[in-house]
């Protein structure tokens, strides 16, 4: 490896995630209250395996074989989820009185570990970027935020167990309630990245561009602006990611029709165009990390409720964007 070494490397982060997933798998396996405990355990085992042993497989078996094996595992994971083989254990009844007592005993100190996560992450990304021990960077230079987040989580966990007297293993045990609640949604972003990879290989973007160009009237300024804005939002809804939609729609519509033909000012055009994509992000289940995972985290009955709440704001901002673009970008 020719890359610069770091203490908190991205691989270490993956091993941690993998270890948590394996513990969850083990706990699910032994949980007799879960009617589908073996398939649930298998689900988390397959997931954790790719994190714990992915790098080892890459160096032992090479890229091609590893990717094929992981590909098969991913299909298995999707099949387990699709066949509804993911079960949830019955957690031991929550002792509300006990929690009230300990909340009273610990007071506002309970907030400290939770607040420590964002604060430490921000401080480290701002000030520990260049921090070195010998020739080793503390943080993975290519994944600063994630490395900082990992240190913050470990620090918060130590602080939390010191404060409450609960061990880190108890912490993982407790986190299984949350993992069970999130379930398959935790993997959706990765699956969507996979779909995006196939779309790129299949040149789906080029097809969309060609088709959009068939239906455009190049002389109507307002219509062009509206098509670009709405197109960014719609294509983002399909791809789940404004970054993926931006080059396609901007190269297809904004560049030839708005910048070249109508002499639009590029800076506000792209700034507002990207925001139209974000309006789309607010309205799609494909942006799972923002819309579906929170619904699962908050244990909402309706998995689409966060999206439903966001739609009015997204549509109103999209309307503003069309007007802003129309009035701001032309000389």
């Amino acid at each position: 490896m020719s890359s610069v070494d770091s203490i908190i490397s991205i691989n270490l982060v993956f091993y941690l995630i993998g270890a948590i997933a394996m513990l969850v798998a083990g706990l699910s396996w032994r949980d007799a209250s879960n009617p589908k405990r073996y398939s649930t355990a298998l689900f988390w085992f397959l997931f954790g395996f790719s994190f714990l042993f992915g790098d080892l497989m890459l160096s032992l078996l090479g890229k091609q074989v590893t990717y094929r094996i992981v590909g098969v595992m991913v299909l298995l994971i999707a099949a387990l989820a699709g066949a509804k083989l993911l079960g949830v254990g019955v957690p031991p009844p929550e002792d509300e009185a006990e929690r009230q007592r300990s909340a009273q005993r610990l007071g506002n100190r309970l907030f400290l570990p939770a607040l420590a996560i964002p604060v430490i992450t921000v401080l480290l990304t701002l000030f520990a970027k260049e921090l070195k021990f010998g020739s080793w960077f503390l943080l993975d230079q290519k994944n600063l935020t994630l490395a900082a987040l990992t240190i913050a989580c470990l620090g918060a966990l130590l602080l939390g167990s010191k404060l409450t007297g609960g061990s880190p293993l108890l912490a993982v045990r407790e986190s299984r309630r949350l993992v069970d609640a999130i379930g398959w949604a935790l993997l959706l972003p990765q699956m969507l990245a996979m779909l995006g990879g196939v779309f790129v290989a299949a040149q789906t973007g080029r097809s969309i561009q060609t088709i959009v160009n068939l239906f455009i009237d190049p002389d109507n300024r307002l219509a062009l602006v509206a098509i670009y804005c709405v197109g960014m939002a719609l294509f983002t809804m399909i791809m789940g990611n404004a970054f993926a939609a931006f080059p396609v729609m901007t190269a297809g519509i904004a560049l030839p029709f708005l910048i070249v033909q109508q002499h639009a000012n590029p800076a506000p055009l792209v700034a507002i165009g990207m925001f139209c994509g974000y309006c789309g992000t607010l309205m799609t289940p494909m942006a799972a990390n923002f819309n579906i995972v929170p619904a699962a985290l908050l244990e909402l009955k309706d998995k689409y409720q966060v999206i439903k709440i966001q739609i009015p704001t997204a549509l109103a901002v999209l309307g503003c964007n069309i007007l802003l673009m129309y009035f701001l970008v032309f000389p």
């Binding site: 309970l110 964002p118 966990l157 609960g166």
Partner: protein, 246 residues
């Protein structure tokens, strides 16, 4: 019409239909990937490779799993209960005001580049949602599940909207760099990241005004719905009593 133009789009209707029919999304996305790949003539093995490679190279997306143990531990020792009793001690706290305050802080801090101050797993689930719900239940007592869910969903939405429309003002953010790189690639020079950041401000202000306006009406809406629910509850109780009397 040229068939080769339409085949790569096969995945899109599959995704839309799959979500609409409420099949498991992991299954839907995988089937859409397989269908698209086969439609454009990829063979099974290279399709498997694409799947495996993308899954491996996007492993950082599962980082939420790192945060959950801390939150789980703190919840066991009463984090939610503490968040609720703390809000109860603030007399002027209402659901709408708490969410509005969080929204403004989140959007401004995102604009300054402090993107990690907040987040669904670390802030919304353990702190913001319980506080927003507690503020409403302080005012009205017991709340129906539908209202608790709506408040929680609003808390999640606050975090998303504020983050999205704040972060582009921060010039070092990936999106701004992506935009300048795209323009350069296409022969448009002289657009500095700073200019894009400045042009993001009008939309950021629109989003701020629109979402704060919606949040400012949330308290009244909660009050109305709680009242309706309480009326319905007492009507149920009286009719039950009446039946017993008969």
């Amino acid at each position: 019409m040229d068939l080769a133009l339409w085949l790569p789009l096969l995945g899109i209707p599959i995704v839309v239909l799959g979500f609409a029919l409420r099949f498991n999304p992991l299954m839907v996305v995988t089937v859409a990937g397989v269908a698209t790949g086969l439609a454009v003539g990829m063979d099974g093995l290279s399709l498997l490779e694409t799947f495996g490679e993308k899954f491996m190279s996007s492993r950082q997306l599962a980082s939420a799993l790192l945060i959950l143990p801390v939150i789980g531990l703190l919840e066991r020792y009463g984090l939610k209960q503490r968040a609720q009793s703390w809000v109860a001690s603030i007399r002027s706290a209402t659901t709408g005001r708490i969410l509005m305050l969080y929204f403004v802080v989140r959007e401004v801090s995102a604009a300054l580049g402090l993107l990690s101050l907040g987040g669904q797993a670390q802030t919304v689930r353990p702190l913001l949602a319980p506080m927003a719900i507690a503020a409403a239940s302080n005012q009205y007592g017991e709340l129906p599940q539908s209202i608790r869910d709506r408040i929680a969903a609003h808390a999640a939405a606050c975090d998303n909207v504020a983050l999205f429309f704040g972060e582009d003002i921060f010039i070092a953010f990936g999106a701004v760099l992506l935009m300048t790189a795209f323009l350069k690639e296409n022969g448009i020079n002289g657009v500095e990241p700073l200019m894009i950041g400045l042009w993001a401000i009008p939309t950021a202000l629109c989003a701020l005004v629109i979402h704060l306006f919606r949040l400012s009406r949330l308290d009244a809406r909660i009050a109305r719905e709680v009242q309706d629910w309480q009326l319905a509850q007492s009507a149920l109780a009286t009719s039950a009593k009446a039946q017993v009397a008969v």
